[in-house]
């Protein structure tokens, strides 16, 4: 089971390395363990995240791709769909049948035909367009809804801080 998982991860790594989408760099931290990856995502243009680079850790289960990985940002990301500890909460990272509230359609959720690339692209568009139906960070969601200026200011501040400025 785990050998087929690491084979698949290796294949995804090769595809991401030879033909990476713009603004995304991802690969295993070390090839000794294909189940822990580090990804860098560029902040989408035209959003307060623009200009930033956001590192995240991806942890894959042994039965990947049957179950989705977990994704966690390694810097402060003030966003309605990112938990204060950095964990990302979007539908593609949820296995089908795991949503008791029925916020998400089954087609949006994880399935073996998804991929790391699709996750990272989804996270990029999540940064641009938060989904405040089921917020992971309630304070950020409220600020995003009610005090957009303050929200954007805080995000920009975090971006500068993460670049060491």
């Amino acid at each position: 089971m785990s050998s087929s998982a690491s084979k698949r991860l290796f294949k995804e790594y090769r595809m991401l390395s030879s033909d990476a989408p713009d603004g995304i760099t991802a690969g295993p931290v070390s090839e000794d363990d294909m189940f822990v990856w580090e990804a860098l995502i560029q902040g989408p243009e035209g959003t307060p995240f623009e200009g930033g680079v956001f590192p995240a850790e991806l942890k894959f289960p042994k039965d990947y791709p049957l179950a989705p990985p977990k994704m966690k940002f390694c810097v402060d990301v003030w966003h309605p769909n990112v938990y204060p500890n950095g964990e990302v909460c979007i539908s593609i990272l949820h296995p089908p049948g795991d949503d008791p509230h029925h916020y998400e359609q089954a087609s949006e959720r994880w399935s073996p035909i998804q991929s790391v690339e699709k996750i990272l692209i989804s996270v990029m568009s999540m940064l641009a367009e938060p989904n405040d139906e089921s917020p992971a960070n309630v304070d950020a969601a409220r600020m995003w809804r009610e005090r957009r200026q303050e929200y954007e200011g805080r995000v920009r501040e975090n971006v500068r801080k993460s670049l060491g400025l």
């Binding site: 390395s17 030879s18 760099t25 580090e38 860098l40 590192p55 966690k72 950095g86 964990e87 971006v159």
Partner: protein
């Protein structure tokens, strides 16, 4: 008068005897209890977990102490708590069995916040910051869309792409800052 002078040495003897007696009594309990605690069975940590999960407000030490004294009877301790009696506080000398490294309740444990280091420190890029951007990386942005057959080379390529991405972002931000301050100076 004669009676009183006789009393002085008697009094001294009495005081010495009293001190010895008190010291003997004070020393006695600790001498007796110590072997008894070591004699009783160590409490199974899973039993403590079991009760601690039912009553998260209880102190683990007190739970362990109560279990220790009733011989690991979970039901008795549970009964005691449910009936509203408070568990006796565990004495200082009591060493409860260590909590298992992997606590069974995963939901309640808050995950620590990520370490707050910026990307430059995180990826050790401070030395590369001052270096002028290489001509190839600055304009043409030749993305190393390469896949090496060699494992170490692959790793190095990935590392380089990461570093370039961060350095590029940093330089862009610095340029923006410079443009902004320049604009402010003009106006």
């Amino acid at each position: 008068m004669a009676e009183q002078t006789l009393n002085v040495p008697q009094l001294i003897v009495f005081v010495i005897l009293a001190v010895l007696a008190i010291r003997w009594f004070m020393a006695k309990p600790s001498n007796v209890t110590r072997p008894s605690t070591t004699r009783t069975v160590r409490v199974n940590p899973s039993q403590i977990d079991q009760i601690a999960q039912m009553f998260p407000q209880m102190n683990r030490r007190d739970i362990a102490w109560d279990l220790q004294r009733n011989g690991g009877n979970v039901a008795a301790t549970t009964e005691k708590v449910l009936s509203g009696r408070t568990l006796d506080p565990a004495p200082e000398s009591f060493n409860p069995p260590p909590q298992r490294s992997n606590p069974t309740s995963r939901t309640a444990t808050p995950t620590p916040k990520p370490a707050q280091t910026d990307l430059i420190t995180r990826y050790n890029l401070a030395s590369k910051l001052s270096a002028a951007p290489e001509s190839s990386t600055s304009d043409s942005q030749t993305k190393q869309k390469t896949w090496s057959q060699d494992r170490n080379e692959r790793q190095a390529n990935l590392q380089r792409r990461r570093e370039e991405m961060i350095l590029a972002a940093r330089r862009k931000m610095e340029e923006k800052d410079r443009a902004k301050t320049a604009g402010a100076a003009v106006s």
